[in-house]
Symmetry: C2
Subunit: 375 residues, 2 copies
């Protein structure tokens, strides 16, 4: 067995560090800094959307995600079928962010005895619906009880030819920064669902007022992964230089690309694609619309960079927007507002240990919401 | 979004089924019965120790395990470093059970804010120690907060040549049933730790009485995976016909082999390898020693079958014991006692939703423990 001193050392309470002091990214850095690599087949380990493993003439991509009730989802407004669907989609999105094709998946669940079997039938129905839509084989998993709540752990594999894989680290100064679809709507969907939950808690006889917000609620409850973009870009003869999916919010993902590519960036606020209704809703909630995109997260769109020489090829592709460019000054990561001001992009990150579900994305710039809801 | 009826259907409480009614194996069967397969590369999905995926001239093995605090481990006697080590080993054991070589691993953890960063350092120290020992690359993961307790989800990959992979389904009538190492000690280690926990709860000034039981406690807290067996058997020119690792207990694993191979089996009680001190300890606890092996679990030894024609090759290999043989009567799965009686082997399984940690392995035949502890 191990030496006894380890336990004693961990027990010295005077020197202990709270998880909230480090936050998610700090913790990951700390826990992964001593990792060794034993196999040359492991081309890329921790630090991108997926690991990359050499397997003959192709590579295998490997990614994993953990969804915890009360942290990542709230079953009072997230139907179990949607939850199952979303749990699969967020993992497929990681494979799409590497420019790969998803193949197989394992799903483990821990569930307390308060859930009936039929609830898990619903969950799996959503999982299998997503598997069918994205052609992913569910090949394994583990089923366990939990002390409290539901927890879902999904691991996915994908495939690509080695030269197709796109890392976060490939962006160069001058590259155009592009995004698919529009941003911020998943976050506004969450706020609507949270609001109706509160109304319901005050007066259970009230029916939820969700009609008219189908787009935002759909983006939150049933997001899709952009596996289509691989073919769109290949068809246009474009190979992105770096890519990441937008799970935490645009600002956080841009900073990931900058950090790993060792570049700066200039983002133009007016270029950020936001659905008009989402923009209007944000204002009703006293939130600057741009912040729903920068910090909202969960849109599962792709953020990528392309060489400037690809400008003509990419500028007219529907559903792709050029929102800025990378610079050689790695100290400068800024957003330019319509009136020409420069705002520094800050890592939203997400400190899971100081905030619950509802507060998750309202820390930092989106905190105006708590000061009043205009409707 | 999905149709609304799904949610309503799941809400009809009159028709709901408790998880405890189905149990783990029943639930897995129910949830996985509608799985489709989309990719020919997926050679084997749910139903063995690992999935098998074709990747060029080799196959990739993929397996996953979930460990939940209060269900699978108790931090009052499981040091975090040991927990990290064990979480890795139980996954490596799944790859060993397919006759593969472990390669890469992802580790996701959900942890509540009650844990300091130093506790996770300890956990990862154990994880990385196991990675180093077994040469496994830690390539990814997810770190999240939990509402309560610690949860660890590990997914592992392995490799093998296609012809090397050994499934649970390959046993034939007449094949010899073999086991590595000895069984039941991990379970007795758990009972010792549970007993000392109870003593400590009654009188916190008492020091735990663990000395003299190093072997049993080590088997429980720091198990090892039998990755060595692959080379031992290859060296002896033996290719098992079926294989599984012993995580739930010998009886349960034998029944898995029989079910998937469509055979019966005859197990000889006196052949089951049990450490002499473990045997003695079991008697002190009023437990029939054989039951620690049949139902205890967590020994992570390998159970496998070989052709009768390999008898001469295998009979003298140290650390491998022939304990019975497979039969063509799939209705007969029996243990022969020393006095010639036949006892039917029953699936222990483990109904996670009706039992907590301490009770986990004491349901069924091992329930004598609750009637008295002879020390």
């Amino acid at each position: 067995m191990f030496e006894k001193k380890d336990q004693k050392q961990a027990g010295k309470s005077s020197e202990l560090t709270a998880l909230s002091e480090l936050g998610e990214f700090g913790l990951i850095d700390r826990l992964t800094k001593n990792i060794q690599r034993f196999h040359p087949e492991t081309l890329k380990g921790v630090g991108d959307d997926a690991a990359v493993i050499a397997t003959g003439d192709k590579v295998m991509l490997l990614s994993t995600d953990l969804l915890v009730e009360g942290i990542h989802f709230d079953l009072t407004y997230m139907p179990l079928k949607h939850l199952g669907y979303k749990a699969v989609v967020v993992n497929i999105s990681d494979i799409a962010a590497m420019n790969g094709i998803p193949l197989q998946m394992t799903v483990s669940i821990a569930v307390s005895s308060r859930f009936p079997v039929e609830a898990l039938d619903e969950l799996y129905s959503g999982i299998l619906t997503a598997c069918e839509k994205y052609h992913v084989d569910l090949v394994g998993g583990d089923t366990s009880s939990s002390v409290k709540g539901l927890l879902i752990s999904v691991t996915i594999t994908g495939t690509a030819r080695p030269e197709e894989v796109i890392y976060r680290s490939g962006a160069r100064s001058g590259d155009l920064l592009c995004v698919t679809g529009d941003l911020g709507s998943a976050y506004m969907g969450l706020l609507i669902l949270e609001r109706e939950k509160k109304v319901f808690q005050v007066n259970p006889a009230m029916q939820p007022e969700l009609s008219g917000f189908d787009y935002q609620i759909g983006r939150q409850l049933k997001p899709e992964a952009r596996t289509d973009i691989r073919n769109v870009l290949m068809g246009a003869g474009i190979r992105p230089t770096a890519m990441i999916d937008i799970s935490d919010g645009l600002a956080s993902e841009i900073l990931h690309l900058c950090k790993q590519s060792k570049t700066g960036c200039r983002l133009f606020e007016e270029k950020i694609p936001i659905d008009p209704q989402t923009r209007e809703l944000a204002l009703e909630y006293n939130i600057i619309p741009t912040l729903t995109a920068l910090s909202g997260g969960e849109d599962y769109e792709l953020l990528f960079t392309v060489s400037q020489s690809d400008y003509e090829k990419i500028k007219d592709i529907e559903g792709i927007t050029i929102i800025g460019h990378m610079t050689d000054n790695s100290g400068e990561k800024v957003m330019i507002t319509p009136d020409g001001k420069q705002v520094e992009l800050t890592a939203q990150g997400w400190n899971a240990w100081t905030s619950g579900l509802a507060d998750k994305r309202t820390s930092g710039p989106v905190d105006k919401r708590t000061s009043g809801q205009a409707d």
